[in-house]
């Protein structure tokens, strides 16, 4: 799932500027599941913007809406009436949804209300961990289902570095919490599976051009194209 965090309120205010009619647009898929940008959160931000405008004596109309998926044209059609009436749209979707919105309504000012941060999984309620780097060439089959691309701080592809100590990485999260060494996890799980030999296989350098280093990617499923 794509996860995102809401931008600080003053950043959003700066993006909205002097606009008189604001539409806060949520997206009811990934960002709703990570409690950042669904309809509920869109309503909360709209209320905050109205309170702030009221406090400072500004006449600002703030509405909210949400699309089932902001990243698909068809769902954007369903909210186009509200978008048409707004001077600025604050999108709470991930970067994909925000860009779809900006492209679909190209004459409108569409601004982000969130920072999209990762492809993660909910570890437990309201806690998400990064799990995929969308590198374009999955190695999970050789790494016992642990992704070294995003779970190793250095994205090493051939075993741990010297900074791994008792299963923990030398890097800490910004909150100061310890991070499991991905290569330690890989080794432990390969051992449990009796597949330690995979650890000693020489891997050629990873082709990073299949990931975001190779420029914008495009995928076409020929067999599914309309005829």
């Amino acid at each position: 799932m794509i996860t995102a965090e809401r931008k600080p309120f003053d950043k959003i205010l700066g993006l909205v500027g002097e606009s008189k009619k604001v539409l806060v647009a949520g997206c009811d898929t990934c960002v709703a599941v990570c409690l950042t940008g669904g309809e509920k959160e869109a309503e909360i931000l709209a209320s905050e913007l109205r309170i702030e405008a009221g406090m400072n004596g500004r006449e600002t109309e703030v509405e909210h809406t949400s699309a089932i998926r902001q990243c698909e044209w068809e769902y954007l059609d369903l909210i186009s009436d509200k978008v048409d009436q707004a001077d600025v749209v604050v999108s709470l979707a991930c970067g994909i949804g925000i860009q779809s919105m900006a492209e679909k309504f190209a004459t409108k000012l569409v601004v982000p209300g969130v920072d999209t941060n990762m492809l993660g999984m909910p570890l437990e309620h309201a806690v998400w961990l990064e799990r995929c780097g969308a590198c374009g060439e999955c190695v999970l089959g050789e790494t016992a289902g642990v992704c070294p691309v995003v779970r190793c701080s250095k994205s090493l592809m051939n075993g741990p570095c010297g900074g791994s100590h008792e299963g923990k990485c030398e890097v800490k999260t910004p909150e100061g919490e310890e991070i499991d060494c991905a290569w330690h996890l890989i080794w432990e799980r390969l051992k449990a599976q009796g597949r330690e030999d995979l650890m000693f296989v020489d891997r050629p350098p990873k082709n990073w051009s299949k990931g975001s280093s190779g420029g914008p990617r495009k995928m076409v499923r020929v067999e599914a194209r309309p005829v």
């Binding site: 209320s47 905050e48 702030e52 009221g54 406090m55």
Partner: protein
Amino acid sequence: MADAAQPDFEPEIIVFACHYCAYAAADLAGVMRLDYPSSIRIIKLPCTGKLEVIHLLRAIEAGADGVYAAGCLEGECHYLKGNLWARQRVNHVKKLLTEMGLEPERVEMYNMSSAMGVRFAEVANEFTARIKELGPNPVKRKGVSPYAAAREAASEIALPEDTDTVADQPNRPLAPLATTKEG
């Protein structure tokens, strides 16, 4: 930001009170003939755990000078953890208000049991004094009654005042704030 304290300022305060404790405590305070300010307007909930961030914000948006949730004592929630959820949400709203430049003290979470009529009156007095100190909510809208609007915004979670049980309350849709008029 609010002006300094005004001597004739009568705050309008919304209380989200749990059916099982604070609402009964308010009843008890009445029976005990305890004095507490008329600024307090109560919205009865089946549990403060039903209270969400948006309900608190809507009350502030409607011009309430202060809003507080009154739930059961911690560890004694009828639904086990509803009051703990409420506290987290109230704390989150405090953060949001701070970001907006409003005083976080305008929202609060209190805990009391149904036997604590005296505490109910005490909290009402304490919170009213706090809000008087802060002054009026700068977001006042002409013709909008904070209580009516907050109640309408919370209609999907609020219990009618005359209900004795919390069973089978139908969910009602949110009405737009602007249509809620005084009286």
